[in-house]
Symmetry: C2
Subunit: 393 residues, 2 copies
Amino acid sequence: MTGHAPFSAAEYDRRLTLTRKAMQKAGLDAVFITDPSNQAWLTGYDGWSFYVHQGVIVTQSGEPIWWGRNMDKFGGRRTCWMGHDNILGYGDHYVQSSEVHPMQDLADVIKSRGLEKAHIGVEMENYYYSAKAHEVLKTCLPDARLADATGLVNWQRLIKSEDEIDFISKASGITDKVMQVALERAEPGMRKNDLVADIMHAGITGVGDDWGDYPAIVPLTPSGLDATAAHLTWNGDKLREGEATFFELSGCYRRYHAPLCRTIHLGTPPDEMKRAEIAQLEGISAGLDAARAGNLTCDIANAFMAVMAKHGIERQGRMGYPIGLSYPPDWGERSASIRSEDQTVLQAGMVFHFMPALWMDTWGLETTETILITENGSAKPLSNVERKLFVKG
Amino acid sequence: MTGHAPFSAAEYDRRLTLTRKAMQKAGLDAVFITDPSNQAWLTGYDGWSFYVHQGVIVTQSGEPIWWGRNMDKFGGRRTCWMGHDNILGYGDHYVQSSEVHPMQDLADVIKSRGLEKAHIGVEMENYYYSAKAHEVLKTCLPDARLADATGLVNWQRLIKSEDEIDFISKASGITDKVMQVALERAEPGMRKNDLVADIMHAGITGVGDDWGDYPAIVPLTPSGLDATAAHLTWNGDKLREGEATFFELSGCYRRYHAPLCRTIHLGTPPDEMKRAEIAQLEGISAGLDAARAGNLTCDIANAFMAVMAKHGIERQGRMGYPIGLSYPPDWGERSASIRSEDQTVLQAGMVFHFMPALWMDTWGLETTETILITENGSAKPLSNVERKLFVKG
């Protein structure tokens, strides 16, 4: 272990072994991994350099190879566990050029390792593997067989090790601090951006020795009509009496997340929102109870929807996703989903953001939990923040 | 104008006209734009929803069409200037599914607009247009001709309008505030994450009515050996006497940026670093002087490198990029580059992050400027922060 990777050699070994088994099952000689979360999970690599092409090559033997821009090789040496011989860089003239493409250099690396005729998995559906990258790599490796390995590594991340659960629990401690700050300081007349500044400050200072890292999504904090939309960020408007604001926030500990949503209403909420609160809380309890080892991801969604239907509220779609290690733009792990179409078998050690938010015509009500699937019984919510619609004034 | 888009109808009209001219020149009937910065530049769309497939369709007539996830349609209505009929959504079952893909829905939209046989530009080299997306779209539009339109919109953004320069100037005011906080509070014994928390707080509170938005890159603040790497983020270690820390920071005003780097050394810097400081400052002056309307981007890089060579320092590679409106993971505009291979003609109204940082074997020295190309004379740095190596204690 040469760099400052956050986990033990045994933990990285576990991850490599899982990945290699999945590769064997898929008949792949090698994979080229571009998802920054998968790269970090396999090698420890950590840096804000994913805006240029970079990735990790895994074969059935030896250390993984981290490959990226020359200047980021030094970040690789500081953060990856592999030897420096397995941290490779390409020249700066490849960066954002319309003449040459970094995948030309990657093809040379792949050939130099004797993989020019190999069956190589690439992540076809990833932010950091562009349509152009695929086209260039295919052209430069005419004898290789490129196959879609989207999700191959992501699915190996689904069951967390004890060390990872420890990291997520630390992130959850930071989340609770951040949410308390949001709920305590929100009041009519406060500018939204000033509130977000306090939220970010609380998250980055962290809790004691658990220093805060940057979450993969910025604070989502819309109010009133803006809260009918799921993904608006903030502005400089003041919070107003008579409006609900939802907070979708996560602490981050060494790239691990534990998202949480709560909603606050300034002034007396409308009856319709109070009725929705009752239904939502009952639905969440039903969902937690269904979130048991041996059950399926769809059982959680179906349990929640059944309660909603009973209360006359229609809520369909996706209600959550696995979480853990992540980089922008998404803190979900992009493998299973909590939705009626998804039949993933729940197992102890899985961690989900159970996200049964309600977006209505004129307001939004987000109350969610990060939950750990346990050996026995219902899922364990990691947060200690009270589960309810908060009301102030 | 139905939503809260930040610019006037005339400004969006200017942008559409430029884009349509570029489309005509490229022989394109339509473009499908996935770069979130290009989407916002054309339509005003603003939300943290780029982690799912979304984009903007532009043809030669009518309003652009914003297309995304159903739940983000409501964010589109709140932020885009177009009528609600031109804000379209796809079902949640398409999201991160291995069975179906949102591009199937997009293909239906394209067909419904009579474009099934059109010549359509797509951004092949973009974070938000995956290899898989392209494959599915191609398959679903067998009679269309898909062409690479990477950069087509980005190049139209190069010369800023007065309104945009005003936004960038406001961002620069926030940057200066943030940099002053970093330089004032950095001291031996302070935890890096606590310093970053203060930096973020200063940036999001903003300056007066100019409220702070989230920058497209988090604060880069490495110290000592970590500063030999360009893109490491922070941790919970304490700042130490005898180490240099560089700050690469930007304020953000309504998605517009003005990045700036300064370096601080705690304690007396080594002679080698002081000599590099003298060379770097002289090189930056030479670069600013070469950054004149009518000159080329490479002239800036060559002027800087000539001074470095005189001082016996080798510095090659990219030394800057245009900046303005951006979303994560990059605040560069991905069109021109300040490097010896690039021959873009400089024109008044262009704004660059001139970024001639030095990364040496055991330390890094980053001193940079956001610069505006003017009608006459050398470029105007927007920041008021003193240009030097800061030394404390």
